[in-house]
């Protein structure tokens, strides 16, 4: 919320609060003074109503008593007692009563009722004539009233006592008259001279007059009620609520005025004089009384609180009006005051708000008093803050660029530009070279230069040319501040050019790395004395950051270079590896090809063995099938033998198939397929294939194939080829031997490392130890018709399986070839280990 608003609101609130307090005080004071009086007034009024009502009936009471003594009444009563005719007295009495009724409109009926005749009316004057005219009722219309309650009550009275009946609606012949006439009977007995009761005087009072008065006695908004002892309404603002007990739908005041009726009950019956009760909360006053010593009645007056409180409210209202007016005036005054007070403040606020704007909003520095002082203080603070802020921003931007710039030149350029953006006239960065001239080479520059730096031909050598601030800065590694260029003695050479370009003051800051000062950051301002202590401190930080950034950029560059070299090296390595791999694959393919060719060649040499291997089962098949035919042709046919022969046919057919499959496998040109295999099996198959060769050359083959050999991982065909080559070699090596048995021994056994070693030993001619190293060379052969590939291929196959094929001289004669293949389990572990590595 704005200050002026707050000020205005405060003043208005003050005024409103004051007015409200005065208004409240007045209101409650008035209220306290008025209320008791108001209630006393109402009580008085009610009391008077009650008394008026009672009195209006009191007249009839007196009338009843006074009528006893009139002559005519006495005469009529006397005649009744004596049984003599009363002659003219009735007429006399009638005339008298007519005048009486005429003068008292509230008298409804006047009667003299005999007692001895069982309550028959003796004289009756009422208003039953045409249009309510008063008349003496003819004797024929006189009624028997012995059963009426007033009769019953009155005959029990002592002389001089008067009975006043409860208020009822008038009836005629037992029916309630309409329009309703509330009335009350006043009855008094007439005693004869013999002391016996002779007659009753009964005056029926029409209460419409009294009730009318009662109704009319209340002012605006007030309500008045009359109730009997049972609480039935006799008078009610709503006439339909009246006389409910007579009309069959009783309406009782207890529901409407429970509190005040409760008070009556607790205080007992009313005396003859009305007794008032008050319920201030509801504005109700009740006056209880006996109606002319007769029935208990109560007048209830209800005044609306508003009516009672009216004076107090009037006071409150006037207070409110005064308050509002006062508040309005106060608000107007406060607005004016707040405006004049806050205008300079607002100006200051706006200046603060627009702190970042350029140009800044003017401050009311010429304002008087404290505000003026505040504005001036603020202005100086703002200027300082603006400068510091600018410098900080410069530093931050410098640092941001420091991080992002890829190399030192860009970085230095960015810092220079940031400086100029930050309000300096020119900034440059130079490196002090370690050359002969100790030259300073500008590497970055920004701002108003116009060839200034380039034309300086700066040097940091300790010469006259090197006496400027930049040179000193590099030489000494300290900050050089020139407060006023036009007058500074060290600016000899450059002063003119500097002034031309509007440089008023300058600062040169050293750029340092771990080894010392390597350059300078120079900053020029168009203001003299621009570089105060704080600015120097901050700019030095920029210089330090720049130096750090340059060093970091150099490191980065070096690292990038190293990385690039490493990457190239890795790439070369990868290419080499790829080439090696390709070479290895090609070699493998070539080797496989060669192995295949060699295998086929070897197999060609084995045709005799192969034919034998195939012909054996074929012969068995042929013989068996012939045999079975013959067994069947016998008489009787020998089925058992025939069946046996046929079973053997099937078995041998399978055998022939297996042989063919094996041979085909050996002849097929396949890429090596590594799988777990049983070397003993593979060897046995090879031996079967070379059987003919063994026998032809009279070679005895001895095998010692270790049971429980672990499976090895390898290509079955290639490993069989190795065995085949070695077996054939051995057989051939022994072909010339005549002086000793030709024995080819084949052993397999598990090596310590878990691999399987195969040893093939012959008793042949052996080999010349001198050629031993060349035995495995390709195209090296000691045989006349040998190709010289067998051993070379065998070795390459074994090595491709990760094994080694070696040869050594036999114990006495011949040669021993050994090769080992790692077991499938060991190979798997090794692979895993390799993967892990």
């Amino acid at each position: 919320m704005r200050l002026s608003t707050r000020l205005t609101l405060a003043v208005v609130a003050l005024v409103v609060a004051t007015t409200a307090a005065v208004g409240m005080f007045t209101y409650f004071g008035i209220k306290a003074a008025i209320l008791p009086e108001a209630f006393a007034r109402i009580s008085q009024h009610t009391y008077e109503r009650a008394r008026d009502l009672s009195e209006s009936i009191g007249v009839s009471r007196l009338d009843a008593l006074s009528f006893r003594g009139t002559n005519s009444v006495a005469a009529i009563v006397g005649a009744q007692v004596s049984g003599a005719p009363d002659g003219e007295w009735r007429a006399v009495l009638g005339a008298r009563l007519i005048s009486e009724l005429a003068s008292k409109p509230e008298y409804y009926r006047f009667r003299l009722i005999g007692v001895a005749n069982g309550g028959r009316e003796l004289v009756r004057v009422d208003r039953s004539g045409p249009s309510g005219a008063i008349r003496v009722v003819p004797a024929a219309e006189l009624q028997q009233t012995g059963d009426r309650d007033y009769f019953q009550a009155a005959v029990r009275l002592a002389p001089d006592e008067v009975y006043v009946s409860p208020v009822r609606l008038s009836r005629r012949n037992g029916n309630i008259e309409f329009p309703y006439v509330p009335m009350v009977h006043t009855a008094t007995p007439l005693y004869a001279s013999n002391g016996r009761i002779a007659a009753l005087i009964v005056i029926t009072v029409d209460l419409r007059w009294a009730f009318g008065r009662l109704r009319n006695s209340v002012g605006d908004g007030g309500q008045i009620y009359l109730i009997n002892a049972d609480g039935d309404y006799l008078v009610h603002p709503d006439p339909s609520q009246e006389f409910g007990f007579e009309l069959g739908t009783p309406v009782r005041a207890h529901n409407d005025f429970p509190v005040i009726l409760g008070q009556i009950q607790s205080e007992g019956t009313a005396a003859q004089a009305p007794r008032t009760y008050l319920n201030e909360d509801r504005g109700v006053v009740l006056a209880a009384f006996e109606l002319a010593g007769g029935p208990q009645l109560a007048v209830i007056e209800k005044v609306p609180p508003a009516l009672i409180h009216a004076p107090a409210l009037a006071a409150a209202r006037s207070s409110l009006i005064v308050g509002v007016l006062a508040a309005l005036i106060a608000a107007a005054l406060a607005l004016a005051l707040a405006g004049s007070l806050t205008r300079p403040l607002k100006q200051i606020t706006a200046a603060v708000d627009s702190f970042r704007e350029d140009p800044p909003i003017a401050l009311p520095t010429d304002a008087a008093g404290e505000i003026g002082a505040l504005a001036r203080a603020f202005e100086s603070m703002e200027q300082r803050l603006r400068r510091v802020n600018r410098m900080y921003r410069t530093i931050i931007i410098c640092n941001q660029r420091l991080i992002r710039m890829p190399d030192e030149e860009t970085l230095s350029q960015a810092v220079c530009e940031t400086m100029v953006e930050g309000g300096y006239r020119m900034a440059w960065v130079g490196y002090g070279l370690q050359d002969e001239n100790r030259s300073i080479v500008p590497i970055a520059q920004a701002g108003e230069d116009h060839g200034y730096i380039v034309n300086l031909h700066l040097t940091w050598a300790d010469t006259e040319r090197g006496s400027g601030p930049g040179a000193r800065c590099i030489r000494q590694g300290t900050v050089q501040v020139t407060r006023h260029i036009p007058t500074d003695p060290t600016y000899g050479f450059w002063r003119e050019e500097a002034i031309k370009r509007g440089y008023a003051s300058s600062i040169a800051m050293p750029l340092k790395d771990a080894e010392g000062t390597f350059g300078v950051l120079g900053v020029y301002s168009d203001v003299a004395n621009a570089f105060d202590e704080e600015e120097v401190r901050m700019l030095t930080r920029v210089a330090d950051d720049l130096a750090f950034g340059i060093v970091a950029a150099r490191d980065r560059a070096e690292r990038r270079k190293a990385e690039e070299q490493l990457r190239l090296a890795l790439k070369a390595e990868a290419i080499q590896k790829q080439a090696e791999e390709r070479y290895r694959l090609a070699l493998r393919d070539a080797q496989a090809e060669l192995a295949h060719v060699s295998r086929i060649t070897t197999m060609g040499e084995l045709t005799a063995s192969i034919a034998h291997e195939i012909n054996q089962p074929l012969a068995a098949i042929a013989s068996n099938s012939d045999a079975s035919s013959r067994w069947l042709a016998g008489d009787p046919p020998n089925l058992r033998e025939a069946r046996g022969a046929l079973a053997r046919v099937a078995e041998q057919a399978r055998r022939a198939g297996d042989v063919l499959k094996r041979i085909r496998t050996l002849l097929k040109k396949n890429r090596p397929e590594y799988a777990a295999l049983d070397l003993n099996d593979a060897i046995t198959e090879v031996l079967a294939l070379t059987r003919v060769e063994q026998q032809k050359n009279r070679v005895a083959v001895r095998t010692k194939l270790s049971a429980g050999l672990p499976p090895v991982l390898g290509d079955r065909v290639q490993l069989q080829q190795v065995v085949l080559n070695l077996v054939m070699n051995g057989i051939e090596a022994m072909s010339a031997v005549v002086d000793r048995p030709r024995v080819l021994s084949i052993h397999t056994y598990v090596e310590d490392g878990g691999g399987v070693q195969v040893r093939i030993e012959d008793t042949g001619t052996g080999f010349d130890p001198n050629v031993a190293p060349r035995l495995f060379d390709p195209f090296f052969t000691t045989k006349a018709d040998g190709m010289g590939m067998g051993l070379a291929i065998s070795r390459s196959i074994v090595e491709a399986h990760g094994g080694r094929l070696t040869v050594s001289p036999g114990v006495l004669h011949g040669a021993v070839f050994r090769f080992s293949i790692s077991s499938a389990a060991a190979a798997a572990t090794k692979d895993k280990a390799k993967d892990a590595a």
Binding site: N615, L618, S623, W631, E641, R648
Partner: protein
């Protein structure tokens, strides 16, 4: 000689082939004896009756051809039928030269084998009869005196008595006596028969 059912001796290292041959040969009512190797065969007793040898050429250790040679050396005239899974020409030539009845290449037709066996057994039977005759002849020959043997040897070469006497340095009469004795002892009815006898003896001697 008591058991006249011919016996066929089979030597083959392949049990399947052996079993097949057993079945085949038994089906035609021949008696069969099976051996897996030469050594096994040599350890066994040869049957008395007419028999023949069905021999696989390629056998572990000694080959069929070796056995053939050995039998000949031992003067055992058992007719041999060679069966082989793979034969080359030199091998068959050698076998046939050494007197093999037949050289069959596996797989062969049963009838070929059976015919060969029939032939071999016939030959054996003849051989056996021949052997018996030669043995008797030799017995007769053994009954001759040394001088009579000398005279016989010269007679069958066609020398006349006078020449013989000259050769031996005895009288012609002595030669005639010896000649008469030896003809009687030998039971020859004519000079021609005597020559034939000497021939048979000589043959057998030469080969022993």
């Amino acid at each position: 000689m008591k058991d006249t059912t011919p016996t066929v001796i089979v030597v083959d290292d392949d049990p399947a082939v052996r079993e097949a041959l057993r079945s085949l040969l038994q089906s035609v009512g021949l008696k069969v004896v099976l051996f897996g190797s030469v050594a096994e065969f040599l350890r066994a007793k040869l049957p008395d009756g007419p028999s023949c040898l069905v021999l696989d050429i390629r056998l572990p250790g000694q080959s069929g051809l070796d056995l053939q040679d050995e039998l000949a050396k031992a003067d055992i005239h058992l007719p041999v039928i060679f069966i082989t899974g793979h034969a080359d020409v030199p091998m068959s030539v050698r076998a046939m030269k050494a007197g093999a009845v037949e050289f069959l290449t596996k797989p062969f037709r049963d009838q070929e084998l059976l015919d060969a066996i029939q032939l071999a057994i016939g030959r054996d039977r003849t051989q056996r009869e021949e052997d018996t005759a030669v043995a008797e002849l030799r017995q007769r020959h053994q009954s001759l005196t040394a001088r009579e043997k000398e005279v016989l040897a010269l007679v069958v070469t066609g020398r006349r008595n006078k020449q013989i006497a000259g050769d031996l340095g005895v009288s012609e009469i002595t030669v005639k006596v010896h000649r008469g004795n030896l003809v009687r002892k030998m039971g020859a009815r004519s000079l021609a028969e005597l020559v034939r006898m000497a021939d048979r003896l000589g043959t057998s001697r030469a080969t022993s």
